[in-house]
Symmetry: C2
Subunit: 430 residues, 2 copies
Amino acid sequence: MTLVNINARRLWQRIMSMAEIGATSLGGSSRLALTDEDRCGRDLFIEWCRQANCEVRIDRLGNIFARRPGTDPECLPIACGSHLDTQPLGGRFDGVFGVLAGLEVLETLNDNGIQTRSPLEVCVWTNEEGARFTPPMLASGVHAGVYSLEYALARQDDHGISLAEALEAIGYVGEVACGSHRLGAFLEAHIEQGPVLEREQKTVGVVSGVQGSRWYRVSLTGQEAHTGSTPMLGRRDALAAAARLIVEVQAIADAHAPLAVASVGHIENVPNSPNTLSGQVELTIDMRHPRVEGQASMESALRQASAKVAEDTSVVVQLNRIMDTPPVDFHPDCIEVIEEAASSRGYRYRRMLSGAGHDACHLAGVTPTAMIFVPCAGGLSHNEAESAELNDLAAGTNVLLDAMLHLAEQPPEADQVRASATAAAECSQH
Amino acid sequence: MTLVNINARRLWQRIMSMAEIGATSLGGSSRLALTDEDRCGRDLFIEWCRQANCEVRIDRLGNIFARRPGTDPECLPIACGSHLDTQPLGGRFDGVFGVLAGLEVLETLNDNGIQTRSPLEVCVWTNEEGARFTPPMLASGVHAGVYSLEYALARQDDHGISLAEALEAIGYVGEVACGSHRLGAFLEAHIEQGPVLEREQKTVGVVSGVQGSRWYRVSLTGQEAHTGSTPMLGRRDALAAAARLIVEVQAIADAHAPLAVASVGHIENVPNSPNTLSGQVELTIDMRHPRVEGQASMESALRQASAKVAEDTSVVVQLNRIMDTPPVDFHPDCIEVIEEAASSRGYRYRRMLSGAGHDACHLAGVTPTAMIFVPCAGGLSHNEAESAELNDLAAGTNVLLDAMLHLAEQPPEADQVRASATAAAECSQH
C-alpha cells in the first residue's frame, strides 16, 4: 500500500470555516442540535461532500451518511465520523474534528486516485451533546437500537419544542429508516477531552474502550439550627456530613486506582446561610470504572461509606443510583489496525480508555468500532477555549486514513462485537 | 423582701396579642424593623406601658424607655428589655419575651404596691434582627457608642430606603439623644435559641457572657475538567478541597471542645454540573469561642488546615476574616443576682454562655449587664415554629423580677464593666 498523507492545511481551514457558524465572542462555537446554526453546519458539510463526489443519505433522525463508493458492491461501508452539534458555549474541535477528518480522508483518496474495495463513509450523528435534547448520543443510540425512534422524536428542549418539530424545521428528516443503514466498521476520531496525551507527550491515543459510569443522587437530611448556640455535640449538620461523604468518594477512587475515577461536581445546600447549620444537602456522585466488577466494588464501598457517615453524624443519607452506563469494549481488529497505523507512522501513541461518552459507544453494540484520540490543550473541552494543534489533528487524520484503507480491504470480524469488558480493560494503562 | 409572683396568664396573653401583629400562616410573626407592623407593635407596647402608669421616652433611633419611678431621684434606672422586631418569618418569643417580661415585672410591682429605690425601666431596642437593615443590634450599638448615629441613619434596606426614612415614616424619631439616657444596669431575658437547657431539663440559664465569633470567607480555585476523562492524579478539584476543609473545620472545633463551635453553613460551587470538576468554591466559616485566646488558636489551626489542603490538592485557597466580634463578659454583680434569684426560687438552672448575639452584648460595654435564658422547644428559633412553655417563661420572669428588685436597692458597681473575658468563660460549662 502506498503511504499517502492527508492535506493538513485543508483540514484546518475547514475546521475553522465550520467554527464560523455560530461563532462565539471568546473563539468557540454555539451550534445546539437542530437549530439554524446546526442546519448551516450540516449544509456546509454536505456541500463539501458533494464537491468530493460523495453520495449523501439521510435517515429519519437527520443522521447523515456521505459515501465514497468502493469497487466491491457486496462490501459494507467502512465508516467514520462524529457530530457537528456543540455545547451552548462549545469549542471548535469536539465532534467537528471527527467529521472533517473523515471528509479529509475521502478527499485525500480522491487527490491520489486511490480506489478501495469497500465503500467509505463519513457519518454525522444528530444530537450528540445532549445540551438541547437529553439524553446525549441520542440518534446514534437509535441507530444502534438502544432507543426507539418514537422516544427520540418525542424528546423536548427547554422550550417544549420536540426533536421531531426541530428536525422538521431545519429540513433534515431523511428517507432512510433508522438502523437500516448497516456499517462494516466505525472509527471515530476525537480530541481526548482529558490531559493524558498532553501530559505524556503522546500524539495519538488508541482507544480500546469506554469506561462504565454510574451516577448517584444523594440526599442528606439534617436539622437546621443556630451555628452559635448549638453545641457541637448533638448537631445534625447536613453539609458537614456531605463533606465527609465527598472525602470518602475520593478515597474510594484512590482505593480502586489506577482505573477508577470518582467525583462530586454538583451540590445544593439548604438554607445556605452562614449562621444556620445545614438542614438539607443534595449532591450527585459520578463514579467510573472500565470493568463492571470495578463499578460494583465502588458502589459497594459507597454504600458502606454512606451508612457510616449517617451513623456518625445522625444525618439521614439517602443514596439512589440514577444512571448506569456499562463499560464498552471496542473491537480488537479496529483497535489493532489503529495501533498499527500509529506505529507505522512513527507517532508517539498509547492505548487508553475514553473517560467520556461518544457516539462510538452506541455504534460498538452493532458494528466493529474503535476511536482515535488526539491531544487537546490542558485537556480542556466543553469550553470556548478548547484548543488543539494542527500537527496533532493531522496525525490523527493520517492514522484514520491508514486504518480505513486497511479495513476497506480486510473488514473486521463482526462476530467479535461486544467482546468481554475484561480484555479491553486489561490492555489499558489508563 | 416579700416574695411576689408575676402574673403568668397576663404575660402569656400579651405575648399572644403581640404575635397577632404581623401574624404568619404557620403561627409565627413577621414584624421587620420600622415597618407598619413594627409601628403597631410599638404602639401596643406603649399603650400597655401608659396603662401601667409608666413614663415613656424615645431616643433619636426609636429606642423606647418606659420608666416606673423610684423613691430616690439620684439613682440611675435599673433596666431590662429586648426587641420587638422579628425575622421575615420569625417566632413569637425571640425578643418579645424579654420586652413583655420587663413590662410584667412593672405590672406585678404595681399590683403589689411595691416601691423601689431606683427607678425601673423597660427598653425596646430598634433593629435588633438585622433582617431589614444590617448590621443586627444596630440601635443598641449606637446607644453603647459602637456605631455613630449618622452611620445608623444611613443604613438602607433592600429597596434603598434608609433607616432614617423608615423611622420618620412610622413616627418614631424621639427627642432623647442616643446614648445620653444612662442606665444603672441592664438585664435581658430571652429564649435560649439553642438546645442546652431543654436537653438538661433546666428552667433558667444564668448567662455569664457571649462567646466571640469570627467569620471567614474562603475562595478555593481549582480547574474545571471532565469528570470522566480526567484521571484522579493531577486533578485540581475545588469542591473536593472544600470538603476536606469543612471536615477540618469540624476537627478544629473538636480540638477546642467543649467551649468552641465551628460551622460551614454557606457554600457556592461553580459550575455545579454533575460531570464537570469544580473550578471554584466560595464558602463561609463561622467559628466561635468564649475567649480571645481560643479564637486565636482556632484561627491559627484554620490557617494551617487551609495551607495543608491547598498543598495536598493543588487548589488555591484564599482565606479572609470578614467579621470579628470579641467575647463579651457580663457583670459579676448582675450574674450573681440572677443566679441567687434562680436558686432562691428553687428553679433548675445552670450558668451558660450565649452562642448568639443580643442587644445585651452592646449594653455590656457601657452598663452592668447580664442575661436570663429560658428553654425553647428543640432549640429552634428564627423560625415560625419557635415555641416556649408558659411555665418556663413565667420562671424566667420571676427571676427577672427578683433580680431587678435586688439591683434597685443595691445597684451594681459600674467600674467592673468590661471585666476580663477569662472569668466568665471559666465559670461556664457550655
